[in-house]
Point group: C2
Chain length 475, copies 2
């Protein structure tokens, strides 16, 4: 007689959970041993993206890796030197005398978010093109002022900054790459244009920076000689700077170097400017940004690379470009800032979306990649250094290499991750973590907090698809 | 019939090794599981010491703990303010016009180590009491100059420093404690007296500090107003300073605060001094020491405490005092510096023993207690942050409390250990780890390295026995 087979359930089961952790969590709750594997469907499971990924990580991988190696060399070997300060309109390539350069990708006046419109109006008034911000707005609407992305003119500006031709800019030379890049001078805290404020005080600050800070710093720098920007940043990282959200240690090293030249300054505003510098712990931010820009511009000339060399936001759109993708930007809506601390009375509902060009720092091993060693950044992520380390770890997963100059003592001096590889971003669904400030969405009242913004995946996916098209045999 | 009992050896043995790790190591080498318990015979097993410990940790413990709580309150609550710079002979209590104050416990001229003799000779020449160092030596030998420990005059001086009455000193007020303390002004690097150099250049530097650095800093401080020394140090610790061996971040914060006042300086030497300040990353060391001294002097007035409030070395002897032990020092030979990095061509054989008053910092939560967060200190201990953390952990084991102001991000913002308890030191056989510089033993050529010195146990044992005597019912 046939016997019904008996299925014996084993007394104990060892479980490995791959992907969504629901099953894993349930087992853990029941006190059962379980190993969780963090796995997601690559490319979000979208067929076209998965096919592109298969090619770019398969047959095209060697070709891309070769290009990426050259991109990494350029990002890591270039030595950006701050050589001076000059008038934007006089030195920035392609900047005209009726131009305003703004943060982020190209955007029409009417599409700019409130903080950036205020910033442009304030810049127009500071230039003397309009008597007040209302008239400035009308002038821009009339088309009499050309608006252009700073990023397309070898320039980067933080937060909602915009600059006219009379603005003083840092001039940073990457001699190895033959690239000179620029950034505005930091305006400090309070009612300031770079936080989207267009009050009289904010306009006065623009003029103060132009008429006093610029000339005083220019004289001090000229007497000091070129400043190796990333040599200072490399000292700042072990001192707790991510050199993006927190720049205090590097700023102080910079000021200490300039001290003898400021004391010897002959400009009548030297004392007033010294007081301003002493109170502005973000002073070095813009220098670091110009330095980073001088590297990514050079790296951007490499063709067929999957590494991101532009990452910038205008508060409405988030844009990326790859090395070799030329003038084409890949865009997505600018996201809110996720992990954030707000000043009392403010919150996500009153905050503008992610804005500014400072994410260029995250492309060269600073900001998010350097979060691990920064107690100040940890403060925005939950308070423990383990939280900051997690931010760096997530960047390690999507980067192609590491920095030989920016090192993390807390991780046994490993170099910070460098070279955001769009293939890894799209495969893992992990976008760069950008440490950033938060400004009010509409009130023109400036900064309301700071936090960490994760870039939107869509622009990276589009950049990947474009790379796949460019590498196709019949392309 | 009786049966011979059979002892069955178990198939597997779990071992806990208590004390000397020889057995533990042997088992580990054989791949056997073993738990090691770090235990030593308390007080080195010396009967008199063990008996004293039994009383001080037993029947007398409550009385001592009460005193220690008051000592900790004073060490942690006092707010040392740097209020100015003045002439040593004019402000240091009990300092006469023919006095030289030196580091460490009291010591006769002939017993001073070579670097301290050189230092005293250089100070005598700088005072104008002798035309050259040879004549200065004869003058001191003749008894015409009084030598006294700075520590007994509310003053602390780093390394082999000695000061005459014309030296400018930092004046630090602890208003809560009604204590004012003093320290010399740091002389910077190179051929300098505080590293035991008596060359013409070193004597010139003493005069430069007296005639230029002192007056310029005094003017800047006067215009700035009081500086909260430990508020700056509390910012410096998360920036990688232990505020002893590494003081760069705190020095830069200090200079940034003074910047506007230095730029406005009217003293003719302001520019020259600014160049000196810009190049001296140890500038804040002496300020921190005076601040620490203003706290331990106050705490030292508490009676019947087991907490160390003086720890200083003259290069020949190492001396400690407890809160309540009054003018009595407990002495031991000054040890070599154990964990050290040397300049090329130098080593332990050419190095002077541990010297200077800077160990006062280790009594208030800086230096060794703050090592954990300092990549620079880690560099002297093996390179990894885990090595620096171990130094802090060893201080945690022998301290009675922790600092509410100096916090260690790498250890989830725990306060640094404060209040070295001589009972724990003697019970565990663990002495304080002091982060310090190393100078040449005989050549008068200055610094040859830096490292971590462990204090000798003997002076702590003697201090413990004295406390036991003082607390005895019939005492």
């Amino acid at each position: 007689m046939s016997q019904t087979p008996v299925v014996e359930l084993p007394a104990a089961v060892d479980v490995i959970n791959i992907g969504l952790p629901l099953f894993e969590s349930a087992l853990r709750d029941q006190g059962r041993p379980v190993i969780g594997v963090d796995w997601r469907i690559p490319g979000g499971g979208e067929a076209r993206t998965v096919a592109a990924l298969s090619r770019l990580l398969g047959p095209q991988a060697a070709r891309i890796d070769q290009a990426n190696a050259e991109v990494l060399r350029r990002l890591n070997d270039g030595v950006p030197l701050l050589v001076g300060i000059d008038r934007a309109g006089a030195v920035i390539p392609g900047m005209g005398e009726r131009d305003i350069l703004h943060c982020g990708p190209s955007i029409a006046w009417q599409d700019m978010p409130d903080p950036l419109q205020r910033s442009v109006r304030a810049a127009v008034v500071a230039e003397g093109w309009a008597p007040d911000v209302e008239a400035a707005g009308q002038l821009v609407e009339s088309g009499d002022v050309r608006l252009a992305p700073a990023n397309e003119h070898r320039t980067v500006v933080p937060m909602a900054t915009s600059i006219g031709p009379s603005a003083p800019v840092y001039v940073v030379q990457n001699e190895l790459g033959g690239v000179t890049a620029y950034s505005s001078i930091n305006q400090g805290s309070g009612a300031v244009q770079w936080f989207g404020v267009d009050s009289d005080a904010a306009i006065d600050r623009i003029r103060f920076v132009r008429d006093k800070v610029g000339p005083v710093l220019a004289e001090a720098l000229s007497n000091h000689g070129p400043v190796d920007a990333f040599a200072l940043a490399a000292q700042g990282v072990p001192m707790g700077d991510d050199v993006h959200m927190r720049v205090q240690a590097t700023t102080n090293l910079f000021l200490r170097d300039l001290l003898p030249y400021l004391v010897r300054g002959t400009h009548p505003a030297t004392a007033e400017v010294a007081t301003f510098l002493s109170g502005n712990h973000l002073m070095f931010l813009n220098v670091a940004m110009a330095a980073a820009k001088s590297l990514v511009e050079w790296a951007g000339e490499v063709r067929e690379s999957s590494i991101v060399t532009t990452m910038a936001r205008n508060g409405t759109t988030y844009g990326v470009r790859l090395a070799g993708s030329g003038d084409d930007w890949f865009l997505a809506p600018s996201p809110p800032i996720q992990d954030a601390l707000y000043y009392p009375g403010f919150g996500p509902e009153t905050s503008a979306p992610d804005i500014g060009d400072s994410a260029v720092l995250e492309l060269v091993g600073l900001g998010g990649p350097a979060a691990a060693n920064s107690p100040a950044v940890a403060g925005f992520l939950g308070g423990r250094m383990s939280h900051a380390i997690a931010a760096t770890r997530s960047m390690q997963r999507i980067c192609a290499g590491e920095s030989p100059r920016f090192r993390l003592p807390i991780l046994d001096n490993v170099g910070t991750p460098v070279g955001v590889d769009v293939r890894k971003v799209v495969e893992l669904g992990i976008t760069p973590a950008v440490n950033t400030g938060i400004i009010h969405a509409t009130a023109g009242t400036g900064q309301v907090g700071a936090g960490v913004a994760w870039a939107p995946i869509e622009c990276f996916t589009d950049a990947l698809l474009d790379l796949d098209r460019r590498l196709a045999p019949d392309a």
